[in-house]
Symmetry: C2
Subunit: 592 residues, 2 copies
């Protein structure tokens, strides 16, 4: 059993809940239909089963090696990447003029879901390359697009994002990489970049680094940061990769998981200066990066969600096969042992995983659908509405699956018992892989500050009002539906408490005590995520209301689990949050 994802559930979310076929009403997708969407998802599923999952354990065990200044990937990683490139998957979302298929973002995310669940480390290269190409398509000039975009879209070139430095991780204002303008309009880059995924390897013809560097007065902080293209191999007059740029691989980071994605330290300019080309205007580098950050954050959330999801399916499979113990009331040692899925505690662990992973997948795909709707929507006020929802939910989409997906992976190990703690079973690797996600693309702490300190008060609380509208509509519909009373009430009261709690917090703290307001922002983020996922579970239960089949019963039970086991803590935690408790903030450093 590949157990990568449950296609039936994926289709349920895509078509029954999100109704993605309505995207075909927009001009960009007018020639497409569900058949077109399914075709590429089918192909992704097949490739994930045949090429990605079978080598996932191997490419985890065979970590990329540092050899004579180069990063060497296992052959299996290169082969798997070649299969993704050959399948045209990198191109799926791009404009036809660049060789793309113009498929909706959400369809590319369904593809990414299969790849990420089957082999997250290998999938990483493709995600980065797509993000780099998007950045270039949005902000590069025509000549830059002509030079690099076809290579990226076709997968001959891979891309990287070079933001962090050893002394500047979360604090990008403090990067030290410098860019000096030359007479010919190009720049020379000098500096060291840390945590660069895919920074060196031999899996593509070229690597196009997208580098943040400072050009002006260092005291400008983020406003002095510009974005540069610095290819590993400079393109010759014929457009083909030629001479090496002055980019040196200094070393590899050895990670707990996600090990197929090589993670590097790169020096730019050790031998006089790396050639870089300014993207857009000077001083706008961080703004450009953040433009693509929303999608990168959906990507992280999705990776976390599907890592949890596939772990759940592995645990489910194991629990059906593995016989151990007997029913509580049966003390006869000669009676046959039962599959452990029949033990209540194992059912609890599976139901919790189901609630987390299916809820997280729904959350991320909902975010992806908002991207598509906003991108295609002609009416500016509707588009603003959609973008507002997406802005508000992005920190939640990034963080909730990272936190609770990891907990699901923890439970998947526990279902396996001792076997789950060994590298012979996939759940061990999935747990290590998923631990990355609360860290990169903005730590969880930063997402909390973004949500509570910025997003919920954007436009005078206007984004919250947008979400309120969405939830209120669903609550009204659910109220009319038999069998949803309990869940409707649970979601209604949790959302009401969150709304009033949020207002109370901001009212008390005002603008004068941002440190007090934000002291528990991470807890607030978890609470917010729980309420949103509770709402999504209500939507899922609503979509199967009245249906007697096993799929529908499972959805209802998972919704019930979420409402009874998870949502009540929202109220408890909001009580603490509303008090603006300063226990942590007030702890003095010497007292630790």
């Amino acid at each position: 059993m590949p157990n990568i994802l449950n296609r039936r559930d994926l289709d349920f979310i895509l078509y029954d809940i999100l109704k993605i076929d309505r995207l075909c009403a927009y001009p960009r997708h007018a020639a497409q239909d569900r058949g077109v969407f399914d075709q590429i998802i089918d192909a992704a599923e097949k490739l994930a089963e045949e090429k990605l999952q079978p080598v996932a354990a191997l490419v985890d065990a065979q970590e990329p090696a540092f050899d004579a200044g180069r990063a060497v990937l296992p052959e299996e990683t290169r082969d798997a990447l070649a299969a993704i490139v050959e399948g045209g998957f990198l191109a799926a979302g791009f404009d036809e003029s660049w060789g793309g298929l113009e498929l909706p973002y959400i369809v590319t995310q369904a593809v990414a879901a299969y790849f990420g669940a089957a082999n997250g480390g290998v999938a990483g290269y493709g995600m980065l390359t797509i993000a780099a190409a998007n950045l270039l398509a949005a902000h590069g000039d025509e000549a830059q697009k002509q030079a690099y975009l076809p290579g990226l879209v076709e997968g001959r070139f891979f891309g990287t994002m070079c933001l962090s430095e050893p002394q500047a991780g979360s604090s990008l204002a403090d990067i030290r990489t410098r860019a000096e303008r030359q007479a010919d309009g190009s720049y020379r880059l000098h500096g060291s970049k840390m945590w660069i995924s895919g920074g060196d390897h031999d899996a593509s013809e070229n690597i196009i680094h997208f580098v943040l560097a400072k050009t002006g007065d260092p005291s400008l902080g983020v406003k002095g940061i510009s974005l540069f293209i610095a290819p590993r191999l400079l393109l010759g007059d014929d457009g083909a990769p030629g001479a090496r740029n002055d980019v040196t691989l200094v070393g590899l980071n050895h990670k707990m998981g996600n090990r197929a994605t090589v993670n590097t330290v790169l020096n730019f300019g050790d031998e006089g200066g790396a050639v870089g080309f300014l993207v857009g205007e000077e001083g706008r580098g961080l703004a450009y990066m953040f433009h693509m950050m929303n999608e990168a954050r959906i990507g992280v959330g999705l990776a976390a969600a599907v890592t949890a999801y596939t772990g759940y399916l592995h645990a489910l499979d194991y629990a059906k096969e593995r016989r151990q113990g007997r029913p509580i009331k049966d003390r006869d040692p000669t009676s046959p042992m039962i599959p452990i899925i029949e033990h209540a505690d194992v059912k609890r662990m599976l139901l919790q995983q189901k609630a987390y992973s299916e809820g997280a997948l729904h959350l991320c795909l909902y975010g992806a659908m908002l991207v598509d709707l906003a991108r295609n929507e002609p009416d500016p006020s509707v588009r603003e509405h959609l973008e507002g929802l997406l802005e508000l939910l992005t920190p939640v989409i990034k963080s909730w699956p990272s936190e609770y997906g990891l907990r699901a992976n923890d439970l998947a190990i526990q279902v396996h018992g001792g076997y789950g703690y060994t590298r012979e079973y996939a759940v061990e690797r999935l747990y290590r892989d998923n631990r990355l996600n609360p860290i990169h693309e903005g730590t969880k702490g930063i997402q909390g500050i973004d949500l509570l300190g910025r997003k919920v008060r954007f436009a005078g609380g206007g984004l919250m009002a947008l979400l309120d509208g969405e939830i209120a509509t669903d609550l009204a519909e659910a109220t009319q539906t038999d069998g949803l009373g309990e869940a409707t009430e649970a979601v209604r009261s949790a959302w009401a408490a969150l709304k009033s709690g949020t207002e109370e917090m901001h009212g008390q703290a005002g603008a004068s005590a941002p440190d007090l307001l934000l002291a528990n922002a991470t807890l607030y983020l978890d609470v917010f995520g729980h309420v949103v996922v509770g709402w999504l579970w209500l939507k899922q239960a609503h979509a199967v209301a009245g249906r007697p089949d096993a799929f529908a019963r499972g959805k209802r039970q998972a919704c019930q689990y979420f409402c009874r086991y998870e949502l009540p803590e929202v109220h408890t935690r909001l009580e603490l949050l509303k008090r603006l408790d300063d226990t942590c903030l007030a702890m003095d450093v010497d007292a630790f």
Copy 2:
């Protein structure tokens, strides 16, 4: 900075809270005093710093190898074990007649705390050997003790526990290893044993396996299980290890963490039958094993607690050194970056770790003190009281640190950001190491069933009454103390809710619905642990009441954290538990 444990805090728990010097009033420890205790703890601390912690990363990376039917440990593991043996640490708790020092169990646990925090994988061999020696001392006959005990106490022989089999992990009733009695009174063993820590290596002269096997009618289940000694090398007439026994190393399990402890699959009797010697009586094997299980479970809890503890200290150290970002109100990019410990969210993560790890250490050492008090107490009614408390708390001592210690290790990674996800920092390894603890020596699910299904109703709820007495005494004292009002009330109400909730659950479920009663036993176990640890934090805050120093302030703040951030969830969860919610139990297998 070794950052293994905070000795000041350890001394605080041992002497200020638990007052372990009162053990010197008992005859066994009459010749000892705090100076004697401190001497061995000092020596353990020194050895942990000099010999164990420096090789911890290396023995994790160099996993034991399977070579020509033998397990080969890295030289560093063998050297570290030799240092432990030479230091006489294995002997510390044993009777003088067997070469021991007759030190209290809790002092040996303070030693184990240092070893476990510094290098859990290496420490494991010693813990197993001590457990094996204890088992032999308690249940072996004189000739068996003469033959094996000196070797184990002196560390020339190491011990193992051979319980699980591939088809029988948690369900020991279903082991298939058979023992056949021979004319000379010895037995021949046939079967395969799984998850055997220390099952093969070259770090000691001999390995003494303690093996569960069935002798009688297989339908007897656990009652048909007996305990055998099966040395790897049979002892010659001179008592020295000689010919190999018929025990074959089949393979090694490759674990996520805890990798210095080699974990093996052993076959007994592939070549005609492994020679085994019955310990005690036939059919009593599991009872003997469970006799030592209380201490083994304290050992697991302690390993989890100190793995969390040392992770916390590493995170604390990093947070003081690492500079990143600026205070929330400071937007000037030219002002210096601040140590991340000054960010509220980092303080929260550290305070949470402090509350979990210091609380967990206290919990385990309290359990160890109960062992000593019960062992030395001459008055049978007092002894029964102490043993009752220990019985009740053992599943909590095993499980709470395993669950929340792992969460502390997760936070230690998060404090480190990307660095914490790499093998260059210890927190990555500690997280992997600690993931073992909710699994072995009885999974968390089994501990929950033990607590809710058995322990809380032993003696008509008598064990709960004992704990109630302890807590009531402390609450009464705390009520008289300035500054403890909030914490006292938080603990009082949480304990009252737990007591009444427990009664309500048993009252509703009665004996007729054990499956319903136990469906959420794992959640109950977490709740129980939280209340107990809340009580212990109140004790700690009480012990420093009125003191203005940083240590005291830190303790008070951690207590406040626990009361405000952790205890409120107890009430929320008890509401669910009291309803005997059947959401998980009722989930039908097809609906997953």
